[in-house]
C-alpha cells in the first residue's frame, strides 16, 4: 500500500510530535476531561486527554455512559419485540438498524421478503441513511463553529423524517420491518412526495458543499488532519465512510448478497485516497448524494405485490446461528443471532459500527491539537447509542 504524500507527511508529523514531547523542556502536562457533558461530544462520550500546551500527548475515550445492555435485553424478548429495541441503537438511522436483525432472523427461518417489500426496505434504508448523514453534515459545521449548516440540516432532515413517519408511523423509531416483509404497504402519494423530498436533499447537499465544504477555512481545518492509513483502519475494523475514506473499497451494499435491491439502481461507491478528516466528511457528502440517487431510481421500480410473505402468527425461529451485516449510515452494523428455537433469540451479538470506529480514537488523537480533537471526532462520526448499545 502506498501512502500519499500528505498522509505520509502528517503521519511523520504526528510521530515527530510524539518524540518532541519527550525531548523538549520539562513542562507540566495538563489532563483535560472532555465530556461526558461537553458540547462537542453530542451525547455522553468522555475523552480524557493529557495535554502538553494544546497538544495531546495521549487521549482515551471513555464510553459507557449510555450503556443500555441491549445484548442482555434481547435475551428476554421475543423476535418482534427485539425489532423495537434495536432501532434505538443508532437513533438517527433507526430503520437501518432493524434491517440486518430482521434479515438474520429471516435467514434462520429461511423465508424471504417479497420483492415489493425488499425494494421498499431498501428505500427506507437509504432514507434513514440520508436522515442520519444529513444531520452529520450539519453537525460538522457546528463542531467547527459554523452555526448555519446545522439548522439547514435539521430543516431538510425533517422532510425525510416526515416521509419515514408517513410510511411507518414512527418518526425516529419506525419498527416497520417484520420477519417476512414489512408491517404495512406505503400510503398513497408517498412515492410522489419522496421524489420531491429527495430533490430537496440533493439541493441540501449542494448547499452544504457551497457553505461548508467549499470554504477554505473548513478545508484548512480538515485536510491532512487525523490521517488513518488503510491497514490501520482494517486493524481497528473501521467501516463505512471511515474505511472508504482511507481508500478501502468495501461497501456491504455492493459486496455481499442480501435480499435488498441495491442492484436495481445505478450507483457508485466512493473512495478517497487520503484518509484524513476531509476525506471522511467528503465521502459522506458523496454518499448522501448517491443515496438520493438510489432512492430516486428505486421509487420507479417498486414492483406490485404483497409486502409480507406467509409467516406464522407466533414466530418461533428455528435453531441456528446467523450473521448478517449491512452498510448502515455509520458503517458495518451486524447482528450475530443465535436462536434455540424459542420465541426469542438466545444470544444476539450486536456489532455496531461506532464501537469500532471510535476505538481508533486513542491512536488517531496522538499528537494532535485540541481543536483537532473536535474535527477528528466529528469526522469519525459516532452516535453514542451505537457505541454503548
Amino acid at each position: 500500500m502506498t501512502l500519499t504524500d500528505r498522509q505520509q507527511l502528517s503521519y511523520i508529523a504526528s510521530q515527530a510530535a510524539d518524540a518532541r514531547l519527550n525531548v523538549e523542556l520539562e513542562t507540566e502536562g495538563m489532563t483535560l476531561n472532555i465530556g461526558p457533558q461537553h458540547p462537542a461530544t453530542h451525547g455522553t462520550l468522555r475523552i480524557i486527554a493529557r495535554l502538553d500546551g494544546e497538544q495531546v500527548v495521549w487521549a482515551e475515550p471513555v464510553a459507557g455512559y449510555m450503556h443500555r445492555g441491549y445484548e442482555k435485553l434481547t435475551e428476554v424478548r421475543t423476535f418482534p419485540q427485539v425489532t423495537s429495541l434495536v432501532n434505538r441503537i443508532d437513533w438517527l438511522g433507526s430503520f437501518a438498524n432493524e434491517v440486518p436483525f430482521i434479515l438474520a432472523a429471516e435467514k434462520l427461518m429461511e423465508v424471504e421478503a417479497p420483492p415489493r417489500a425488499q425494494v421498499i426496505r431498501t428505500i427506507l434504508f437509504e432514507l434513514s441513511r440520508i436522515a442520519n448523514v444529513s444531520l452529520f453534515l450539519g453537525d460538522l459545521g457546528v463542531q467547527m463553529g459554523a452555526i448555519t449548516p446545522v439548522f439547514l440540516a435539521f430543516r431538510d432532515r425533517e422532510y425525510i423524517l416526515n416521509l419515514i413517519e408517513g410510511a411507518t408511523g414512527g418518526r425516529f423509531h419506525p419498527n416497520f420491518d417484520r420477519i417476512g416483509g414489512l408491517k404495512d404497504d406505503l400510503p398513497k402519494g408517498w412515492i410522489q412526495e419522496t421524489k420531491g423530498a429527495v430533490k430537496k436533499l440533493e439541493e441540501f447537499c449542494d448547499t452544504i458543499d457551497d457553505l461548508l465544504f467549499g470554504n477554505e477555512i473548513f478545508q484548512s481545518r480538515m485536510r491532512g488532519i487525523g490521517v488513518i492509513p488503510a491497514d490501520i483502519a482494517k486493524d481497528y475494523g473501521l467501516s463505512g465512510a471511515n474505511a472508504r475514506a482511507s481508500g478501502i473499497d468495501w461497501d456491504l451494499r455492493r459486496d455481499q448478497d442480501l435480499p435488498l435491491s441495491y442492484d436495481l439502481a445505478d450507483w457508485k461507491v466512493w473512495t478517497h485516497p487520503d484518509g484524513d478528516s476531509w476525506a471522511r466528511c467528503w465521502i459522506r457528502l458523496q454518499e448522501t448524494r448517491e443515496s438520493c440517487k438510489i432512492v430516486g431510481q428505486l421509487l420507479d421500480q417498486i414492483p406490485a405485490g404483497p409486502v409480507m410473505t406467509k409467516v406464522p402468527r407466533i414466530i418461533k425461529v428455528p435453531e441456528g446461528e446467523a450473521w448478517v451485516a449491512t452498510e448502515n449510515p455509520l458503517g458495518e452494523m451486524g447482528y450475530y443471532v443465535v436462536s434455540k428455537g424459542d420465541l426469542g433469540p438466545f444470544r444476539v451479538k450486536i456489532r455496531s459500527a461506532s464501537f469500532n470506529n471510535i476505538s481508533i480514537v486513542p491512536w488517531a488523537l496522538k499528537g494532535v491539537y485540541v481543536p483537532d480533537i473536535i474535527t477528528i471526532l466529528a469526522s469519525l462520526y459516532f452516535i453514542l447509542g451505537d457505541i454503548d448499545r
Partner: protein, 360 residues
C-alpha cells in the same frame, strides 16, 4: 460664569449655552446610549433576527411585537440568577473581570465623535487613545480565564490573550494608513478630511478612505472580527472545544456583562471603523456647501449620530454575516494568518500609503 467656561473651552463647547450639569448628564446618558443601544440593536437585529433568517427560521417571536422585547426578557432572566463563583476561583478578581471588559468598551466610546460638537471628548490623538484602551479588554479576559480555576477557561483565556494581541498589531497598522492619509490622529479631523477630500478631482462623495485605503479597511475589519472573537476567530470561546472559553464559569449578571460587552464592543468598533473609513457622522460637505468642520450646521449634531448608527449597523452586519457563515480557524492557523499574512500586508499598505502621500 457660563460665558467664562465657554470662553475657556471654545473648542468643544457648543455654540449655545448648556449648563455644565446638564452637559454632564447628557454625557452620561449619551455614553450609556452609545454603548447599550448598539449592543441591544446588534443583538436583536443581527443575533436574533438576521441569524435566524439566514437559517430559515424566525427567531424569538413571543416577547413583545416580533420578539423585540426578547433581550429585556433575557436580561431579566440573567439578573435573577445567582451570582456564582467556583470554589477554587480567585473570587475578587473573578468578579472584577467582566467589569474590566465592559469598562474598556466605555473607555472606547469616549473618543468617538457623533457630530461636529456631539462628542464626549476630542483628543488630538483620539485614534491613539482608542487603540490603546481597546486592549484593556484583553486584561479582563485573561484574568477571567485565569481566575476561574477551570481548564477550559484557562485555555480560552490564553487563546484570547494570544489572539487579541496578535490582531492588535494589524489593526494598528491598518489605522496607520488612515492617519497618514488624513495627516491627523484626531477623529473629527479624519472625518473632516474624508468629507472634504476628493478622489482625482471627483469630490461629490468626498474621499471616504474605504476607497483609497481599501486594503487597510479589509485588514481593519478582519482584525476587528478577531478582536471581537467572532467566528471565524472565535477560538477563545469555541463552544465545541472549550465549552465557552473564558466565560465558562460565569453566570447571572456577570455573564450578561460579558455578553453586553461583546456586542457593545462590536458597536464601538463599528463606530470607529465608520469614522476611519466611511466618513463617520458626516456626509460629503460639498452637498451643503460647507468648507470645513466649522461650517457644519448645528443640526448635524442630531443627524450625525443617526448617520453613524446606520454606518455602524452596516459594518457590524457584515461582521455578523461572516460570523454566521464561517467555521472557525484553528488556533495556530489564526496566529499564522495574523503574523504571516495580515501584518506584512498591513506594513506594505502603510509603506505604500506613505510613499503615495509624498508623491501626490
Amino acid at each position: 460664569m457660563l460665558a467664562q467656561l465657554a470662553a475657556e473651552f471654545p473648542d468643544w463647547y457648543p455654540e449655545w449655552n448648556i449648563p455644565y450639569w446638564l452637559m454632564s448628564i447628557l454625557r452620561v446618558v449619551g455614553g450609556l446610549v452609545a454603548v447599550l443601544l448598539p449592543a441591544g440593536g446588534i443583538v436583536y437585529i443581527f443575533l436574533f433576527k438576521m441569524m435566524s433568517f439566514m437559517q430559515s427560521r424566525l427567531g424569538p417571536m413571543e416577547a413583545g411585537p416580533y420578539g423585540s422585547m426578547q433581550l429585556l426578557a433575557e436580561v431579566g432572566k440573567w439578573m435573577q440568577k445567582e451570582d456564582l463563583a467556583p470554589d477554587n476561583a480567585d473570587v475578587r478578581i473573578y468578579k472584577m473581570a467582566p467589569l474590566i471588559v465592559l469598562l474598556s468598551t466605555f473607555l472606547l466610546v469616549v473618543v468617538v465623535p457623533f457630530g461636529p460638537q456631539a462628542y464626549f471628548t476630542n483628543f488630538e490623538t483620539g485614534i491613539f487613545y482608542a487603540l490603546a484602551v481597546a486592549s484593556v479588554s484583553v486584561l479582563g479576559i485573561l484574568i477571567a480565564g485565569w481566575s476561574s480555576a477551570n481548564k477550559y477557561s484557562l485555555l480560552g483565556g490564553l487563546r484570547a490573550g494570544g489572539q487579541l494581541i496578535a490582531y492588535e498589531l494589524p489593526m494598528v497598522l491598518a489605522t496607520l494608513g488612515v492617519v497618514i492619509q488624513a495627516g491627523s490622529m484626531n477623529l473629527n479631523r479624519i472625518i473632516e478630511v474624508q468629507n472634504t477630500g476628493e478622489i482625482f478631482g471627483i469630490g461629490w462623495i468626498g474621499n471616504p478612505f474605504v476607497i483609497t485605503q481599501f486594503i487597510g479597511f479589509l485588514i481593519f475589519m478582519i482584525a476587528v472580527q478577531a478582536e471581537l472573537t467572532q467566528s471565524p476567530f472565535d477560538m477563545p470561546i469555541a463552544e465545541s472545544e472549550l465549552v465557552s472559553g473564558y466565560m465558562t464559569e460565569y453566570s447571572g449578571f456577570r455573564f450578561l456583562i460579558f455578553f453586553i460587552a461583546e456586542f457593545a464592543t462590536a458597536g464601538v468598533f463599528g463606530f470607529i471603523a465608520s469614522v476611519l473609513f466611511l466618513g463617520g457622522w458626516g456626509v460629503p460637505f460639498t452637498w451643503f456647501g460647507w468648507e470645513g468642520i466649522s461650517d457644519v450646521a448645528w443640526w448635524m449634531n442630531f443627524v450625525g449620530p443617526l448617520i453613524m448608527f446606520t454606518k455602524m449597523f452596516a459594518l457590524v452586519g457584515v461582521i455578523m454575516w461572516v460570523r454566521f457563515s464561517y467555521p472557525r480557524f484553528r488556533e495556530d492557523q489564526l496566529q499564522t494568518f495574523a503574523w504571516k499574512v495580515l501584518i506584512p500586508l498591513a506594513l506594505a499598505n502603510t509603506a505604500a500609503t506613505a510613499i503615495l502621500k509624498v508623491v501626490f
